[in-house]
Every structure is written in C-alpha cells, then in structure tokens.
C-alpha cells in the first residue's frame, strides 16, 4: 500500500489517529459484542442466544412490535411530511418562516419529551382526558401501539418535510412548466414530474426516520406500557435484576444492528440506481392559492405545526405550575425551577460540560476526518467513511452498551467516567459535522491547498491557514446539529451514566419515571430554551432561516 516517496505527514498522522479512535471505540466494541452474542455462560461458541430469541414469543413479539410500529410511523410520516413540504414550497402560506422554525424545533427536541407531554395531556390522568371525560366523552388509550405511533409521527415527520423541501428547492420550475405545456395539470403533474424527482431524497429521509424510530428507547419505554420493542428488550436484558445476561443482550443488539444496516444498505442501493442530476436555473416560486384551496392549504399547515409544537408548549406551560412534592398544586410560580436549581444543578452543569467538550472534539476531528475522506482518495479513506457513518445504524442504547461492555474491565476502565459519555457523544453525533464539512469541501478546489503548499506551507499549516477557514460555513451548519443532538442525547447516556455523571435528559427521564412531572417539565424547558437559543444564534451568524440535514 505504501509506495516509495509516500511521506509521513500531518495527514498520515490524522489518518492514524482516526484509525486508533474508531478502532478503540467502534471496531473493537462491535467485534466484542459480536463475539459475545455467539457465547453463553457455558459455551465459547453457540447459536443459543439467537435460537432463544427466535423461539420465544416474548422476544419475537418485541421484534414484530418494533417492525410494525416503525414501519407504520415511516409510512404515516411520509404521508404527512411530503404534502407539507410541497404545499409550503409551491404555495404562499402566511407565516411560512415561523412555521419552518417551529417544525425545526419540534424535530430537534428529544422524542421521549413528546411521549411525556402526550401522557400528561391524553394519559389516564391527563388534562385533556379529564376535561373530555367530565363532559362524557371517552378517550381512547394513549398507551401502547397508538401512543408510540402518535409520538413517532409527530416527532419525525419534520425529517421528511426538511428533506423533501430541500429537494424541491433544487427542482427547476421550468420542469413543472414543461409538464404543464404537455398537458399535465395539478395532481397529475405532481405525481408524474415533481414526485419522481424528489423520490430518492424522500427515501433517504424515510430511512433516517425508520432508523431513529427503530432505535428510540425513551418513547416505547414511557408510553409503551407492555408494548415492548427491541431497544426496551436490550435494556432490560442488560440491567435485569434477575440475572443480567450480557450474552443475550448482545445477541438482541446484533439483530437490531443487522436490521438497521440492511435498511440503510437497501436505501443506498435504491438511491444509487435512481439518481437524477438536474440543471438548476429557476427555483420554484410560491404561488398564491385562491378560495377554498387556499383555506385548506393553510388549515393543513397550521394544524400540523400546532400538533407538532403542542407537546413542547404544554411542557413549558406546566413547568410554571406550582407543585407539592411530586403532586401538582394550585396556581403558577417558579417552584419547579427552584427545585431544579437546588437539586439538579449538577445534571445541568454536566450536560453543558460534556456537551461543550464533545462538540469541540466533534468539530476538530469531524473537520479533519472530512478532509481525509474527501481529499485523500484511497482505501483507507473509504474505510473511514464507513466508520463515520456507522453510528447511523447503531441505536444509542446499543452503542452505550457496546462501550460499557468493552471498557468496564482492565486494561482500560472507562465505565462510570465522564469520558465514556463524551466519547459516545463524539462518535454518535460526529456524522452531522463530517457530512456537512465534507459537502462544502467538495465544492472547494483542491488547488487552493496546492497553492498554499507551493508557497512553502506544510500540510498542517495549509489546513489551518487556508482550507479550514474556507470550510467554516459547512462546519458550523453541521456543528449546530451535532450540538443540539448532543444536548438531547438520552439513550446511550442512560447506559453510561452514574450518579456523578447524570445529564439533564437522564434526570428528566428519571423524574418522569418517578412521577416528578414538575421538575421534569422545568428541566425540559431549560433544555428547549438552550436549544432554541443555540438555533437563533446559528440563524443570526449564518444569516439563514433554515438548517441543512
């Protein structure tokens, strides 16, 4: 592989670094889990774990539950998100920009908060349930399949909306006009022309939705009530007090990773066969609808926006309600916040401490790794590319488990430390920054690097003097996503935290489980405010009103 004349320079060092980093925290843990899944207390090599999984109804039902609820959610999400994207890009909608921001915020808040909020509204003791019951209207149960579906759909449709909108913005308006000149109007035009062009993108979005829903632990855990899905099984098997079984948990985790990887590869395969390049001259200009169509379009958009933001707003509202212990009390005030700041200040500080360290590492490594994957075309950079994207198919709970299983014993004991949580954040949230940095780098001619080298600068100086400054817009728009999703990370932290390293999301989750709804709401509000503030700063800096997924 090494030819004569290949020197060990800065980029060789970065390549080596990335190899060590992903080797330690991705490859070794995954291999270890794979080995674990093929072992038992008694045997070195056995299929027992898999046999047990597929032969017990309890587990196969969880598998079926996962597939069922996630598939339904993905389909529903497309049915809601695609029309929303189409309507908001092709027609004039009042308050379009505000709606866009609301949708982004609801997308970026963690799903389990949605579950929590819907329980408070529509659960057994829910506010709306009580009101409706008091006037004699029965409310169907929010728990189980229906509730999970509701939360997934309202949390995840923004992905489809964002992806589709992004793709529609790249469709040349004259294509639609050409279709009209050939006699295709209205729905027929959309189905025959616009839809096929954005289909690969919708598919990519649907895959993200599928993977996120499939991996989500918090939602089924909170609102599932017996409707158990695979992430819940993995968690239970691992922490079960009646004999935790790391081998079996590993096997279930492997099954999840394989399913996720298959979905991911299927999407890649389909998209690679159906990809269009378009010359973009005239973007679509929103048209003014008239009469009933206009009213309907507005109604649809507003309804979705309200439903999506309702849980968030409700949580903010109840965070100001007075509490007595864990019970609600009359009137409004700051009692929940006072409790939070006296009792849970540590988890707030942890969130920021871990988050800031992680985002710094993500930005530095992500930018460097993006450079290697784009500029150094060799076998190694292809492998690195796979490593970087791999976290997409590893559910958070499982990733936490992976790290924990590998680093809870010598030579390297990391369990219980802040480092292991930060490592998990870095690997899981780096893809956003890498993808976005790589995208901008592809648009920058490599000759500026060469120009700098020709003027006597080595590869490291060149990178920091010239390449990185030019990449900044791409780095920032990736980093904002990494940052917000780090703040919201729950599933792997749940596996990795201890009393000292508890974060806000973990505390919220615990409070909800314990019924401490007031403090949970207050913490959630703090989280939401942090997130919205970060977004606003991002919009201000980049002078944009959108994010790129």
């Amino acid at each position: 592989m090494f030819k004569k004349g290949v020197r060990f320079d800065f980029w060789s060092f970065i390549s080596l670094l990335s190899l060590i980093f992903f080797g330690l925290f991705l490859v070794i843990p995954v291999v270890r889990m794979l080995v674990f899944s093929l072992q038992s207390e008694e045997a070195i090599f056995t299929w027992d774990n898999f046999v047990r999984f597929f032969s017990r109804k309890y587990y196969t039902r969880a598998l079926w539950n996962s597939v069922k609820v996630v598939s339904c959610a993905t389909i529903l999400v497309m049915l809601i998100g695609v029309p929303l994207a189409y309507i908001t890009t092709t027609f004039k909608i009042r308050g379009n920009r505000l709606i866009n921001i609301l949708v982004i915020i609801s997308m970026l808040s963690p799903p389990f908060l949605g579950a929590y909020s819907w329980i408070l509204m529509l659960g057994r003791n829910g506010e709306i349930t009580r009101i409706l019951n008091s006037i004699g209207i029965g409310v169907p149960s929010i728990y189980g399949f229906g509730g999970i579906l509701l939360v997934f759909v309202l949390k995840l449709f923004p992905y489809i909306y964002m992806y589709t909108k992004g793709a529609l913005k790249k469709v040349d308006a004259s294509l639609g006009e050409a279709a009209e000149s050939l006699g295709y109007h209205g729905i027929r035009k959309v189905v025959k022309v616009s839809l096929p062009l954005v289909l690969p993108t919708i598919l990519a979005g649907a895959t993200i939705v599928f993977l996120r829903a499939f991996a989500d632990y918090g939602t089924p855990r909170l609102i599932g009530e017996g409707f158990s899905t695979l992430p819940v099984i993995v968690y239970q098997e691992w922490v079960s007090e009646t004999g935790a079984n790391a081998y079996f948990a590993s096997a279930v985790a492997m099954i999840m990773i394989i399913i996720a990887a298959l979905v991911f590869l299927l999407q890649k395969w389909i998209t690679s066969r159906k990809n269009y390049t378009m010359s973009m001259l005239n973007p679509i200009r929103p048209k003014q609808l008239k009469g009933a169509a206009n009213v309907l379009a507005h109604f649809y958009v507003y309804l979705i926006a309200v439903l999506a933001t309702l849980p968030q707003i409700y949580i903010i509202l109840i965070s100001f309600r007075n509490t007595k212990g864990v019970m609600w009390d009359e009137g409004y005030g700051f009692s929940s916040y006072i409790t939070v700041f006296t009792k849970s200040i540590k988890s707030i500080l942890n969130t920021f401490e871990f988050g800031i360290i992680a985002i710094c590492v993500v930005v530095v490594l992500g930018t460097l790794f993006a450079y290697v994957t784009v500029r150094k075309k060799n076998l190694f950079s292809k492998i690195l590319d796979v490593f970087i994207m791999f976290p997409y198919v590893i559910p958070g709970t499982i990733f936490g488990l992976l790290l924990l299983m590998t680093y809870n014993q010598p030579p390297l004991v990391l369990s219980g430390t802040a480092a292991i949580i930060i490592i998990s954040y870095v690997i899981r949230r780096m893809p956003y920054t890498v993808r976005s940095s790589a995208a901008i780098l592809r648009q920058i001619s490599p000759s500026i690097d060469e120009a700098s080298a020709s003027l006597g600068y080595g590869s490291m100086q060149t990178f920091f003097n010239v390449t990185m400054p030019v990449m900044v817009p791409g780095i920032i728009s990736g980093a904002i996503l990494s940052w917000i999703t780090i703040l919201n990370e729950l599933s792997s932290t749940l596996m990795l935290y201890t009393g000292r390293t508890q974060t806000m999301t973990v505390t919220i989750f615990q409070e909800i489980s314990r019924g401490g709804y007031g403090t949970a709401a207050a913490l959630s509000t703090i989280l939401t405010v942090t997130m919205v503030t970060s977004l606003m700063i991002f919009f201000k800096i980049t002078k944009s009103e959108d994010i790129d997924l």
């Binding site: 030819k3 004349g5 000759s447 500026i448 120009a451 700098s452 080298a453 006597g456 600068y457 400054p469």
Partner: protein, 368 residues
C-alpha cells in the same frame, strides 16, 4: 538566481497506464518553456511532478544539480499559477500576495515593500483590499501571478493560466505574463493546449503526445520544421501528400508527388530512388502558377477573409486541400469551379518517412 530544470527519463504509471513515458527534457535558466499538447497528453501530469503534487517514482527531476524527487512540495521553492487561479477566498488581495512571504522570516517593512512592488508590477494596487469574489477573471489572474512570483521562487509553473479568460483578455494577459517573466528572468514551465498561445509566449516549446515529448524547439522552428507528422498536424494546418523519391544529386532530392508535380528539395537525408515518403505543405506554401509549373486543382470553396483568401481545392488526391493566398499579393480571386495550377515553395515543404512519419530533412532534431 535562475535555475535549470533537468528531467531525466521520468515515467508515471497510473493503474498500468503509462501517462508519462520515459521522458527527458532540459529547461534552461530563465527561459519560458511551454508544454504543449492535446488534452490527455500528460503535460499537466508532468508539470505536477515538477511541483511535487504528483510523485516521481521512475527517473529524476532536478533543479540545477539538486534532485528534487523526495523534497516535499513546500520545500521546493517554486511558484505556481493554477488554471482556476486558486486565490484564497478568505483573504484580501494583499493578504493573498503576502501569504507566501509571511513564511520567510522577513521583517515587516520588507514584506510590505515587496508586496507593494509586485502589485505595481502586475497593476493591481488599486484592488489590494478586495476579496477575490469581487475581482474579475483577469484581476484574479494577476493576483495569482503576483502571489506566485513575490516569493522570488527558483521556478515558476503555470498550468493553463489563461484558459478561463475571454479571447481579448487572454492576449492582454499573455503579454503581461511574458513581460513580467522576462523582467525577473525566472525559469518558467508553462502548460497549454492552445498552440497560438504557445507560439506567442514561449522561448521554447515541447510538443507532447501520449506521455512523450515529440519535439522541443523554438516557436519558429517548430512551426517551420516539425520533427514528425504529429507536430506538423498539431501546430497549424498541413496538407498531406504522398510522394516518391526519383533520385538525389547536386545537393537536391527530386521527388514526384502523387499529383504528378515534381519537386527539387534541398537538405534531405540520403534516400534511395523509389523510396516513398510524405510531403507536407502548409496552406501558405502553395504558389499560384501555370500549367507548365503546377499541378491541376479545382476550386471547391472560396472564403475571403480580408487579409488573405482561403480556398479549399481538389487536387485529385481524394482529400480536400487547403490553400491560402495573401490578398495583397494575389493577382486575382478564384471562384469555385475554376481550375487553377499550384506549385509548391520547395524551401518550406517538409518531408517525412512514410512509415515512421519522422522528418527526412537534415538538421531537424526532436530534442535540442
């Protein structure tokens, strides 16, 4: 100050494909040396090997007597002007030019003096605080040139620097580059696919094809005495005729062209009677004459182009023959359908071996 560049038996192989084949060339101190050839001929690959962006695995490249094969790019001390200019978008014009000097441990006043001086030379002083996106193509080109030469490199490399400019600006910049290059006397390797540009700007040209140099010569010689038919066809236009040697004697070679016209050409290598060869005649090397001294041709197309008249004629060889006549010296303009008689300026024609297609003239070498 100026160095020579010695390229010795260099090869470049990509995936079993020899893109540079055992190539040697010696570039003299201070000269503007052009690598000219069609796309894919390896000219840019060779330039990037000199720069160090492409590695040299076979053969050597040396600046004077220092072999640079294993010297990393940033220590080679050359300036480069890129096809897309590669101006740093995050720096102003001034900062761009200053960038290379900041690396050289010079005192601030000296840096400022040099930057200001070079900005004067390439006439961009007025834009010094602008960012590249506010500059025209020609201005960016000047910044690129200034940035490359301000560090006083040993060698200046230019990769199709004018190909992104419009026709008028191209000529203007060509002159500017030539002027600056001569003024500072820096050894320059210039890559282009544009033969007119190469002829206008170069001290010497290396015509490349398929990874090898076909001929290295001055612009005048490369045009008038191409070493092989590739060079003859690539530079300008040539009409190709088959011919046979009738005999040699008294310093001349008598040749009969396939059209029946007989020529006496001087300075030809020894050839035996009956040898077949190729006679290359450029459009301006025909002489309008009478039946006794010329071959018969029928005018197919006439185009009046002002300074000269361009004809396409049929000499009975099955291919179209292009002929030009100076408007000032033409007796009359011939119309399509007319029969004319053409002679050939025997001092200007080129003769090539029918099989190797290399020159048969004495004193024409591929490498000088």
């Amino acid at each position: 100050m100026a160095v020579a560049i010695h390229i010795n038996e260099v090869k470049k192989i990509y995936e079993n494909n020899e893109v540079i084949r055992n190539l040697s060339a010696h570039i003299m101190p201070g000269e503007l040396f052009t690598l000219l050839g069609p796309s894919g001929c390896g000219k840019t690959t060779l330039l990037r090997m000199i720069a160090g962006f492409n590695s040299v695995e076979h053969g050597t490249i040396a600046f004077d007597d220092q072999v640079i094969n294993n010297i990393p790019v940033y220590k080679r001390n050359f300036g480069m002007v890129f096809q897309n200019y590669a101006i740093f978008p995050n720096m102003t014009v001034y900062r761009n030019i200053e960038y290379g000097l900041k690396n050289k441990k010079l005192d601030k006043a000296e840096v400022a003096r040099r930057v200001n001086e070079i900005m004067e030379t390439v006439q961009i002083t007025q834009y010094k605080d602008r960012y590249p996106d506010k500059l025209s193509g020609g201005q960016q080109q000047r910044v690129a040139l200034a940035r490359a030469i301000v560090v006083q490199p040993q060698v200046l490399l230019m990769d199709e620097p004018l190909s992104n400019l419009d026709a008028k600006l191209r000529i203007e910049m060509r002159e500017a580059i030539r002027e600056v290059q001569k003024k500072i006397g820096i050894t320059t390797v210039y890559v282009t696919h544009d033969q007119e540009e190469a002829l206008a700007i170069s001290d010497r040209i290396a015509v490349m094809n398929r990874g090898d140099i076909q001929q290295i010569e001055t612009p005048e010689r490369i045009y008038s005495r191409p070493y092989n038919t590739f060079v003859a066809d690539f530079i300008g236009h040539s009409n190709r005729f088959e011919g046979t040697v009738l005999g040699q004697g008294n310093g001349v070679t008598r040749i009969r062209m396939q059209t029946g016209l007989e020529l006496e050409v001087g300075g030809v290598k020894p050839l035996s009677a009956g040898t077949s060869l190729l006679v290359y005649v450029r459009p301006e090397e025909f002489i309008f004459t009478d039946e006794a001294h010329g071959m018969k041709a029928q005018v197919l197309v006439k185009r009046f182009l002002g300074k000269y008249i361009h004809y396409v004629v049929d000499c009975g060889t099955g291919t179209h023959v292009e002929v030009t006549a100076d408007t000032s010296s033409a007796e009359r303009i011939h119309e399509p359908g007319e029969t004319i008689f053409l002679g050939v300026n025997t001092r200007r024609v080129n003769l090539f071996d029918a099989t190797t297609e290399n020159t048969l003239l004495e004193g024409v070498e591929s490498h000088v």
